[in-house]
């Protein structure tokens, strides 16, 4: 019993603090590691977003070109199965070609560590979340940047985007 208690204390001490961005989607609070977000922009500034025609992945309707890379714009409401509201901000993620539409940024915060998602959770949330944070009497899911789109979804979207580009090129040649 004493050894277990000591281990628990060591485990707590070993937890590294982490800077997170707290954001809201359809009145639900989420956190994301600050270092996984490259940029936060207003949706008004995304005039150059291109609509893509595909029905397989309804949470993605647009792409954004940034630095010669195509980012897929994921609607976080649709991703998490929440009531869809009009988003005002977009989080451009780092190291992955995903931009996430959210309602608003609450603030930055530092969490003292992640709690593993209990095994009771067996659905898609195991891909959505890295774990849970307990901050100021609130349990907040910490989203996984890699959970927004699977590699298969990237492949399908890349295929749809390439097809759309080919059609655009053909139309341009005909004109």
């Amino acid at each position: 019993m004493k050894i277990a208690a000591q281990d628990a204390v060591k485990a707590r001490k070993a937890r590294k603090p982490e800077a997170v961005i707290l954001f809201n989607v359809s009145n639900q609070l989420f956190a994301i590691a600050a270092d996984s977000v490259q940029e936060i922009r207003s949706t008004d500034s995304l005039g150059a977003a291109l609509e893509i025609e595909q029905q397989e992945i309804p949470k993605v309707r647009h792409t954004i070109e940034r630095g010669h890379r195509t980012y897929y714009v994921v609607n976080a409401c649709a991703h998490f199965g929440l009531r869809v509201v009009r988003p005002t901000l977009v989080l451009m993620l780092r190291q992955i070609r995903v931009a996430v539409l959210v309602d608003k940024i609450e603030r930055m915060a530092e969490i003292s560590g992640l709690h593993a998602l209990p095994r009771a959770f067996v659905g898609a949330e195991r891909q959505w979340y890295r774990g849970l944070a307990y901050l100021e009497d609130q349990v907040i899911p910490v989203v996984s940047p890699l959970g927004f789109l699977t590699s298969q979804e990237f492949e399908r979207l890349d295929g749809a985007t390439a097809e759309a580009s080919r059609h655009d090129l053909e139309r341009a040649v005909q004109i």
Partner: protein, 154 residues
């Protein structure tokens, strides 16, 4: 069956879930928690209604009332914290109950149906089902999978 002085008598926690009483083996029960805040976030796991925080640990709450009684859970409720097993590992698991709980020693006879009931004991002239928490939550998960599978095939 109702005696309390035989070699096979064990301790059980009797709890009220909805309008029925159930028993859980006392060896599986950690505590009866007060009506603390239930934290919600998006997920699609069957039966899980959220998370409560107990002694610095995040404890998933399984809303078993509709499954056991066919009625929605009452709003102001306590939580019985027990252990759920996953192979050789386990984690705390809470189920909403009302505040009336009782520790009794009784013999339980084994039953096999429904699968989430491991036995039945007599207490105060009442026949009370002994719940197997692991099977109870797995039962709901299997049911959800069965329904989804049937919908896909229809």
């Amino acid at each position: 069956m109702s005696g309390t002085d035989t070699e096979n008598a064990k301790s059980y926690v009797l709890v009220q879930i909805g309008d029925r009483r159930f028993a859980l083996p006392a060896s599986e029960v950690s505590e009866l928690a007060p009506p603390v805040r239930l934290h919600h976030f998006p997920h699609n796991s069957p039966l899980v209604s959220g998370i409560i925080v107990r002694r610095g640990r995040l404890v998933p709450v399984y809303d078993v009332c509709p499954l056991l009684t066919g009625k929605n859970s009452p709003t102001h409720q306590f939580y019985l914290v027990a252990r759920r097993h996953f192979g050789s590992a386990s984690e705390p698991a809470a189920i909403p109950v009302n505040g009336d709980s009782e520790l009794v020693t009784a013999d339980a006879v084994q039953v096999t149906s429904p699968s989430y009931v491991s036995g039945r004991l007599m207490h105060g002239g009442e026949s009370i089902e002994v719940l197997d928490l692991d099977r109870l939550v797995a039962f709901e998960y299997r049911e959800k999978n069965r329904v989804e599978h049937a919908e896909l095939n229809s």
